[in-house]
Symmetry: C2
Subunit: 229 residues, 2 copies
């Protein structure tokens, strides 16, 4: 008799299993979730604050902040009156699905439409750890330089939206927008891309329209069809 050989396909890592559980919970609660990543100082917290201020009359929003130390960003965002959780990773260079899993019970899950998770400031490590979100958003910034897509390809490849912040200082830096965009296009063809300045408000309307449309589509269609982010 031939022996049956078990075949196990696509084994999930421990992190991915928890990410899947997080997603099920977020989908069941009707919470559209964004995983926001960037270098230190690109403007994650500024964009989040601008987004909350613009949309908190339309949507019930919550915020989870990941940092290796301090609660500087969470303290700022909490002043806007939205539910806020601070994760201190204690040295780890990225959030992971377990950290999100432990944070979710701290939020009023039945009373939320949109959750924004601010990952640790890092262009490398966060791209390798799914949290269970619906969309990955990357913030780049003009002062970082136009070569970053070429030097951090995994990050640029793995996101659904790119926001280029600090456009107000474009003239003060040697930033070649064409070169930057060519790198983005090679790694992530057709990527949705907004040029903004959190300081002046330039370009924010387009970004806010994207968030509105995404929340609306999710509310209408549910969580199927999104990658685990």
């Amino acid at each position: 008799m031939s022996k049956t050989v078990p075949i196990v396909e696509q084994i999930l890592s421990a992190n991915d299993q928890i990410a899947l559980q997080n997603r099920s919970q977020l989908d069941a609660s009707g919470i559209f979730t964004i995983n926001l990543m960037a270098s230190p100082g690109a403007g994650k917290t500024s964009l989040i604050m601008a987004t909350i201020q613009a949309l908190q009359n339309e949507h019930r929003i919550a915020y989870i902040d990941g940092d290796i130390a301090s609660s500087i960003d969470a303290d700022k965002v909490a002043t806007l009156g939205v539910p806020t959780v601070q994760i201190n990773t204690g040295g780890a260079c990225h959030l992971d699905a377990v950290m999100l899993q432990r944070s979710l019970p701290q939020l009023p899950l039945t009373k939320l439409d949109l959750l924004v998770v601010e990952n640790v400031g890092n262009l490398i490590c966060p791209s390798s750890f799914r949290l269970g979100a619906h969309r990955n958003v990357l913030i780049a910034s003009v002062p970082e330089g136009d070569d970053k897509p070429y030097k951090y390809p995994v990050m640029y490849h793995g996101v659904d939206v790119l926001v280029l912040n600090k456009m107000d200082v474009l003239d003060a830096f040697d930033f070649n927008l064409d070169y930057f965009q060519r790198g983005v296009e090679i790694l992530n063809p057709g990527l949705i891309f907004y040029h903004i300045s959190c300081k002046t408000g330039e370009g924010l309307a387009g970004w806010l329209e994207w968030v509105r449309a995404e929340v609306a589509a999710f509310k209408k269609g549910g969580g199927d069809g999104y990658e685990i982010r």
Copy 2:
């Protein structure tokens, strides 16, 4: 008879063992070595190029560049005519001692006074991996924001010199120099600190004087008394 119990103190990690070997080799070759760390886009390569251009008539300099992908920085620095090695970490978020060990044989070790190692752009991971260098140098930059010492304490705590770059755009950003400096002072009291702009050349003289003095002291006194960096 009492049994002798072996006590093993301060076991070195595999990485630290290799870092120690690297240091022995660098000391024996008379090469003062700097491990340069920073966020993506803070200006590591710009500072290195300015340093090489200013000092290459006084010292024999070599450059090792760590990036997860590309050879953009190494190509730039190589135009200055100094021996250059590119390390592509293939995804790893930091250099380690083995990567440096493998790179050293690519350099003319008997003909060098100063080696500058540019680590991967990251404010977290590189601070946990010794390479075998003599000094750790951190470049911060104004556009990153004044809260970075508080948010990345391990990095700020573990360096011998801090260079704050892009001082030419200070007025364009909400950067509170006092707040930044208080954070630095808490984490690393008395840290040597230069305010510079690689673009305008402001403040570079102080940094160059530090490099000159360090190379001279090392040439005179050898590698004893330096931490393994």
